[in-house]
Symmetry: C3
Subunit: 181 residues, 3 copies
Amino acid sequence: MGAKVSLIIFIMLLASCSAVKRRQYTPCKNLVLFFHDILYNGNNAANATSAIVAAPEGANLTKLASQFHFGNIVVFDDPITLDNNLHSKPVGRAQGFYIYDTKNTYTSWLGFTFALNSTEYQGTITFAGADPIMQKTRDISVTGGTGQFFMHRGIATIMTDSFEGEVYFRLRVDIKFYECW
Amino acid sequence: MGAKVSLIIFIMLLASCSAVKRRQYTPCKNLVLFFHDILYNGNNAANATSAIVAAPEGANLTKLASQFHFGNIVVFDDPITLDNNLHSKPVGRAQGFYIYDTKNTYTSWLGFTFALNSTEYQGTITFAGADPIMQKTRDISVTGGTGQFFMHRGIATIMTDSFEGEVYFRLRVDIKFYECW
Amino acid sequence: MGAKVSLIIFIMLLASCSAVKRRQYTPCKNLVLFFHDILYNGNNAANATSAIVAAPEGANLTKLASQFHFGNIVVFDDPITLDNNLHSKPVGRAQGFYIYDTKNTYTSWLGFTFALNSTEYQGTITFAGADPIMQKTRDISVTGGTGQFFMHRGIATIMTDSFEGEVYFRLRVDIKFYECW
């Protein structure tokens, strides 16, 4: 075996190292979950899972603001289910807030965590990002995780699976982790 | 030296590359810090380090809301100390907000940054995540850092070290970085 | 070729693997963008791009609070431009919120996303961190990205490029990605 073979080995190994380094564009983990938001409107205190807590001048806290709800902040604690049925056994809670942040269309900004506590999943997944609600699907960032999702990062594709006026909506969240640890 | 040895070298190197790639589950850096929150209650303007700035319908801004404070947003600028003494020399400020987000127990959601400025530490550490207050310890995500904590990521284990009614609490934050740069 | 050469190859390769693993301190991508914030003050509804939506006890929503605006939360949807001209064609929108969070100086905490939609850029970049406004430049964390910025992480250096009283300010954002995928 001579220098040539050594060189070949060297190149092969360099390539394999690079391959290891190269990022993967196929998820290392994938979860699809649903969460359900029932907005407090002054009359549904028992069932509501979210409430308007901040609003711009001239607006109030039991009705989403005019101008596409610009400036409303909603705090939520929504049940997470494995399927699209509000009455399915929850596997955790989606907790955090959303902001309506455009004056001439509906867009929101989300900061929240899935606190999962079931036989399938134990741990948290934290999300942040813009949510242009009127688009069929939109991507937000998964910025961190704990427990079973220790140090994970990824992208979540969100879809409005259903809504009823301004009181109920259900989001389908397709979580694709690309960094899994 | 024949092909067999080459193969062994190849496998060893592949293994070592993988080892390099493999994530580490022992922190590459570890900090324990404390921060102190004194909530404004209408009478303590001089000492208060935080204030309720948003609340659901029917609540006010000098008293945490009923229903486990659901919907309150509190903005804070709290001193950070190396030990559990409120009067120790601060090494920086914990700045950001927390939200109370459950109707039937106490949980919060945190978005904040440690802005550290001392002989020991220079830089920022940003945190986000759900904080189920009633649990003895809870993990939130460290989503980024600057300065001495450039590009760091990790997990922070939070513990309520002390509290006095609804006016003062002190959190012990055990920050474990697993990605250090 | 003997064991000595094999050992040399082994060490070289180990070194190259480590080199691949070693973090880069030169950005893998760099963008400079500007965004423009016009705060609603009760009289500029048509032009305003942001609004105060939460404030501490005693403050109101058309005027920033006293005590260095401590406790104000502002929701924004600001145009992003490639240069410092407010009237340049926007390449996207900066959407999210900022909080004023110090009682004895001006500092804020930012949580927002650049939603970019132009021939140059398609995708989102999400930011979080403390912004000590009075410093000439300050670093915040880029915690995630989607689209063209899929899974990116980095640091953004923010500079107040211009301001007019409490109604208009323009930020220059120098985004340096160190993790690019």
